[in-house]
Assembly symmetry: C2
Homo-oligomer: 292 residues x 2
Amino acid sequence: MSIDLTAASITEAVQKTFEGAEDERVKELFIRLVQHLHDFTREVRLTGEEWFTAMDFLERVGKTCTPTRQEFVLLSDILGLSVLVDLIHHPGGGSVTDSTLLGPFYVEGRPTAQNGSDISGEVEGIPLFFNGRVLDPDGNPVAGAKVDTWHSDGEGFYDVQMQDKLHGRLAMRALLTTDDEGRFWYRSVAPRYYPVPNDGPCGEILRAANRSPMRPEHLHFRLHAEGFEPLITMLVRSDDPYVERDAVFGVRRSLVVDFVHHDAGDTAPDGTRMGEPFQTVERTFVLDHREH
Amino acid sequence: MSIDLTAASITEAVQKTFEGAEDERVKELFIRLVQHLHDFTREVRLTGEEWFTAMDFLERVGKTCTPTRQEFVLLSDILGLSVLVDLIHHPGGGSVTDSTLLGPFYVEGRPTAQNGSDISGEVEGIPLFFNGRVLDPDGNPVAGAKVDTWHSDGEGFYDVQMQDKLHGRLAMRALLTTDDEGRFWYRSVAPRYYPVPNDGPCGEILRAANRSPMRPEHLHFRLHAEGFEPLITMLVRSDDPYVERDAVFGVRRSLVVDFVHHDAGDTAPDGTRMGEPFQTVERTFVLDHREH
């Protein structure tokens, strides 16, 4: 019965219309969603004008989405929802490496690379040498683990954001494989802090709230190995100015690492005597055994 | 400080980022929105897969919006939000006529019409004669009130949904003006119950919930008069099969009226002896004085 409704009784009336759902989870999700959407609307006494602004905003968010830009994911990110979903299922703080956001710049078609190779894709920047190790919870090396890594250039741009300049090539990303000791290593260029895309509807929210759009400098990693839970994580530069105020709430202290500066003339991890300053980063990742 | 967050502490961290908003209302709206979005996400322990499905759904809702189809308004309608916003500010039950949804079919460029004219725009159907009166709360006629009316045809379609057939003309809608006694009247064709557009993302929700997409037969009205609050309302056919279960929760009992059947040979309100069956509807609208 959806007649003679009041601002109080309409919520139960709407919830009842979801009771016929065959999928119990669909029923639960919509009944709780309606409760919170209605409670919010009543609490703030949302006006017709504000409602109209919201409808127009959401339409523009949808229209901003393209295959290489997901403005709804960004909206979820800046409202802390994306990280919340991750935190609910991966609270972290245990012996395995904490997970965090995948972010919008992961690309399926990334090239494979040999350990020790330069994955910068001819992008210029401060040389960066990364040495990683993958272990199980008991400290045993995980050999043959597949490690995706991707990051920005020294101006904060990912390859997919400068396809004109790169003539359609991918760069600063690769799929590596750990050796018998669980090690993987590569050379690239140092990344940089950068703003989330703020020329669209989400930028309006950030400006209205006087919020910074910046994410601190970081390297992304995605690890898969037979018998282990997949891990999506990232490492954040410890002395970055935005490390304590990531625009999308994706930094965990356990994932903050030193990007070590070396002077020209020092020897790189691969034995090269470098003619220019460079950086090194080291990190061990601990994967969890797959639940069965 | 947005580091070392947990599924519990992230909400306050996100809310704090809105405290720098200059507009107090923006601050309030986002702080409460974040609270409810996060509470919902925690309560149902939303999974990453469900979150991804939601992001994809919202993008598709945005992409479905066109100048003549507003899928986010429809989403708001089927979740009862649109009516809730109206009920909060217009609880009704007083001496003035209750308001309800504007709906998606109001068009700014509607033609003006003289009282008594046929506004059907050459659309075929059962003749319908409407007689209305506009009064103030004391029962005095409101002369010179502007009355918009619009409705579907006998198959449930509005003019904007059959522009090919109508060669771009508008039909079954007009702007009328009340006479010195507050009266307005017109001839048209009887409308019909119809489904909300269910071939898009919102249709997926209705089907997943086994919900009817139908709205009962109704006539829309929008009234403006100098010194009075504008009124958006509609009249719903009392013997319609969907009167108690409108898909968008827009029916109020006070707005249910009889669409009276007359046989061929009876005399219409305009004095015409009709050669076919027809319907008549009468209604008085009471406008509220404008608040100052």
